[in-house]
């Protein structure tokens, strides 16, 4: 889904012109744009930012460096990497860290990983969590490490007391 301040009529023409196969939404009062923290006050419009949500509606990735010329292709590539990361996580990490990154009953002392990408970039996540974990670096190729970081960066935050627990 794409959101801008433009009116539906403008977007209808845009959809026809660009053959867009998704919903182009109008946020004419900028309320959703502001709610998501992507309001450009100087130009009174939205910034070019993409949020990738999982099927349960959790924010799993925020892309702030969007190249308008290639963003369709880039988005497909991001989803592909995220899914690769998901399968690696499931195979190597979930047993101890839990399916959602917030520990399992078997290993309750595992530090929660939820929302880790808010404090660390991908490279730091690789260094601080993956490389210091039980997965030896020889197991994965560089591309797989990066995909794993993409997936881990947006693991869902816990609600309640353990919310946003720091590593």
């Amino acid at each position: 889904m794409a959101v801008s301040f433009r009116a539906p009529e403008f977007n209808r023409d845009l959809c026809a012109k660009e053959s867009l196969n998704f919903f182009v939404l109008s946020d004419t009062d900028r309320s959703v744009i502001k709610r998501y923290g992507v309001y450009d006050a100087q130009n009174d419009c939205a910034q070019r930012v993409t949020f990738l949500l999982d099927k349960n509606g959790f924010i799993r990735r925020i892309v702030r460096q969007v190249n308008p010329a290639t963003h369709g292709k880039d988005l497909v590539e991001l989803v592909r990497r995220w899914q690769l990361g998901e399968s690696i996580y499931r195979d190597l990490c979930a047993r101890c860290h839990g399916a959602d990154g917030n520990a399992t009953d078997l290993y309750p002392n595992t530090k929660p990983l939820g929302g880790i990408g808010n404090r660390m970039g991908d490279d730091e996540i690789v260094k601080a969590t993956i490389a210091s974990g039980f997965v030896h670096e020889m197991v994965l190729r560089k591309e797989e490490w990066q995909a794993l970081a993409v997936f881990v960066s947006g693991l869902p935050l816990l609600t309640g007391d353990k919310h946003d627990a720091r590593p």
């Binding site: 889904m1 070019r48 959790f58 808010n118």
Partner: protein, 77 residues
């Protein structure tokens, strides 16, 4: 001379404190709870045919890309 040295030390300490504070600062990831790992706030907005779409109606199916853009979808806007 001695006073100058102290002044320099104090300045250095302040700069270090500033650098530390900036390093500690959480990266801006949106207003009020809009950040990685959080539930995306629901909303309802009209699509290009004027049909109101809710974010929540897409949940439980597939991943959703929420693409904010300035004015034009492609380059230049």
């Amino acid at each position: 001379m001695r006073a100058r040295w102290h002044y320099g030390t104090v300045m250095m300490a302040m700069l270090l404190a500033l650098a530390w504070a900036m390093g500690k600062e959480v990266k801006p990831t949106g207003s009020d709870g809009v950040r990685l790992g959080a539930k995306a706030p629901d909303f309802a907005l009209p699509d290009s045919n004027g049909v109101v779409r809710r974010l929540s109606e897409f949940q439980g199916k597939k991943m959703v890309a929420l693409v904010f853009y300035p004015a034009l979808f492609k380059a230049g806007g």
